[in-house]
Amino acid sequence: MADKRINIAWMYPDTLYLHGERGNLMALVRYAMELGLAPHVSRVDLGTKDFDPMQYDILFFGPGEISSFKSVMADIGGYKRSIAEYISSGRILIATGTTMSMFGEKITRFSPDADDGIGEVIEGLCVIPAESFEREYVFGDDLDIRAEYGGYSMELIGNQIQMADIRFAESAQYNRFGSVIYGRGNNGEDSMEGIVHGNSIFTNMLGPILVGNPWLTLRIVRAAAENKGISIEAEDPAYELEVRSFALKKEFIESKKKQQSQKK
């Protein structure tokens, strides 16, 4: 199985540790195995020596607290160039929730003690053309989007626990990840959600999205295999429970939309 091996790095799991995203690693492993691959997950922690992004096929960054970002960026900053090369080469980096902000240009923190609410400004990794603004209050809701990934169009449902709104600058290199069907998305104004560069995804959507949306997970795993020149003969596996779950969630969201429009 050595030639079928897919290396997955779980980036800073105990620091970027929120919202049950361990499930996403489990989903990557599950579907990679069902496609006949040999997934291998490694933890990369603060202080891990000799981390080389190019040794991996998927880098997964879950959501973390903004207060941790400086430490993470100090650690990963040394690999900034190689991460940019990694993304440009078509390999897969996934950053979910507020952690997406870390890859942008700057994050402006909220300060309850400042008259204008503006607190510290943190320089980001400048991997994506984005600027984030920490919110005074949390915004939490379901998020339903129409996403484009790897040439496929698909509907995804997940959650959004928005600690910072994000704004993207126009860039030819990057495409939006999704358009919002229901929810807040980047900032509640542009009806857009996240960004895609090559096969890498930066999204506000969080929680075990790869568990609940296996059609995306399979595309990611197939892209990782293709990058490595591994051919997959297996058909996509069945995911009946997930389809039923998705239908119930969609029904719930539709009923919310109806109620909200009635209130208006």
Partner: protein, 455 residues
């Protein structure tokens, strides 16, 4: 100002009197809410309160229970207490308690003022009501729709401590609350030695970032989910902020005999669940430090302690004993407690799981992702005959998270309904007398009522 306060106070007192005639179970907020509409600075105008005798209890889990324990112990020693022990923990709840405890002119003469306070309202309450003591039970992932992440709450509590300075009663075994010790020169730690129900999680689970340096916290054992023996692998931050041991420590526990000891003093254990150990230690610490009540006196008081509105109940239905345990949604710790409680029963059993949509405020939403922080290993090994997942929008999501956790899909039944009759029917047809159930409280109450009528 004075007139406005008196108007507010009188309206509050009249409201309290009316509510106590109509329904004594209601009205923990009403008087305070209406008084604060008249006088937004209402809390600051009461007289006779010595800040040294005031304690705020905040944190993720255990606030109400610790408040009840402290009230019970201090009242048993004859102290007069003003408290929001009914559980309304926003500013209006505190105001209602002060209205009840004060004279018509707003004077108070209680020995102690013990208030459970919501973490997000702590600053607002403290701005108006002087308080020299703060107890933090623990700070964990919880109610993410409004609390976001634990650091969001940590910063709110830190701001209060930094602005007002307080003596802190801290859980020395829970890293976040423990680290607050750096913000005060007066800290009392409570904790629990490793006990027989302590458990470990492998490194497929996440721990948490160090509150001091963001590096990985290694948790060597969990006395309760989120708390136990810990150390930061980078800066060395460890239990009790480096002190050798907690000031008030549960040093031995016998779950079989329902006994424990705190600082070598024998205590009864009215509720023998692991998470209660921290609550006992916290209450003993406060009663000794604040009121001079010895550990022996606290232990004697606990002989008669009864928790009102606890998380455990049961239904007897057609020969089946359905054991109910409520857990807080969006809160992995209480879900893990529920799982561990079931896992400690080796008999064959059916487990019924009903996650609900999160309906705290608009927008309502779906969240079951906290289940991925829980370890199902003990449950899987504990002779479960069948798992039934119920409730409308989340039944499949919950089932999927348990299957990812290792539960055998062949043992899973998904029943996407909240209809009590259908759920009870499914339980009855499971052919097992030993049933564990978790579901939202109001649904459980409907089920209980339905079962009562069926008898």
């Amino acid at each position: 100002m004075k007139l406005k306060f008196l108007r507010a106070l009188i309206k509050g007192k009249l409201g309290n009197a009316a509510i106590s005639i109509i329904d004594k179970n209601r009205g923990t907020n009403w008087a305070g809410e209406h008084a604060m509409l008249i006088d937004p600075d209402f809390l600051s105008h009461f007289k006779g309160i010595d800040p040294e005798k005031v304690l705020f209890i905040t944190g993720t889990n255990g606030k109400s229970t610790v408040n009840s324990l402290i009230n019970h112990i201090l009242r048993s020693k004859g102290f007069k207490i003003v408290s929001n022990v009914e559980g309304a923990n926003l500013d209006a709840g505190v105001a209602t308690a002060l209205i009840k405890g004060s004279s018509l002119s707003g004077n108070l003469d209680a020995d102690f003022y013990i208030f459970e306070t919501d973490e997000r309202y702590l600053y607002k309450i403290r701005e108006q009501l002087p308080c020299a003591n703060l107890l933090v039970t623990n700070l964990q992932k919880d109610q993410v729709q409004r609390n976001g992440d634990p650091d969001f709450i940590y910063r709110k509590i830190s701001r209060v401590i930094d602005a007002f300075g307080m003596r802190l009663f801290l859980n020395g075994d829970e890293p976040r609350s423990c680290s607050l010790a750096d913000r005060s020169d007066k800290t009392v730690f409570f904790g629990v030695n490793r006990h027989s129900k302590a458990f470990c999680k492998d490194d497929t689970f996440v721990t948490m970032p160090c509150p001091k340096c963001s590096s990985r916290i290694r948790i060597d054992f969990f006395n309760n989910d989120g708390m136990g023996g810990f150390e930061c692998e980078n800066c060395g931050f460890t239990n009790n902020n480096g002190r050798e041991k907690a000031d008030y420590i549960v040093d031995s526990v016998s779950f079989d005999e329902k006994k424990l000891s705190i600082n070598d003093v024998p205590f009864p254990m009215p509720y023998d669940l692991p998470y209660m150990l921290y609550n006992y230690a916290a209450a003993a610490a406060v009663c000794k430090e604040l009121a001079g009540v010895s550990e022996e006196e606290s232990a004697a008081a606990l002989e008669t302690f009864k928790l009102i509105g606890g998380r455990i109940d049961s239904i007897d239905y057609r020969g089946q004993n359905i054991k109910y345990m409520r857990f807080k949604q969006e809160n992995p710790e209480t879900l893990q407690n529920f799982i561990n409680m079931i896992a400690s029963d080796p008999e064959e059993k059916v487990v019924v799981i009903g996650f609900g949509t999160i309906n705290d405020f608009d927008p309502h939403y779906i969240n079951s992702f906290y289940a991925f922080d829980c370890d199902f290993t003990g449950l899987i090994e504990s002779n479960v005959k069948k798992y039934i997942f119920v409730t409308d929008a989340i039944a499949y999501d919950a089932a999927i998270s348990f299957i990812y956790g290792g539960v055998d899909p062949a043992k899973v039944e998904v029943l996407p309904t909240s209809n009590e009759e259908e759920i009870l029917k499914a339980i009855t047809s499971s052919g097992c007398d030993n049933v564990y159930l978790t579901i939202e409280l109001h649904r459980f109450e409907h089920m209980k009522e339905f079962a009562r009528k069926e008898k």
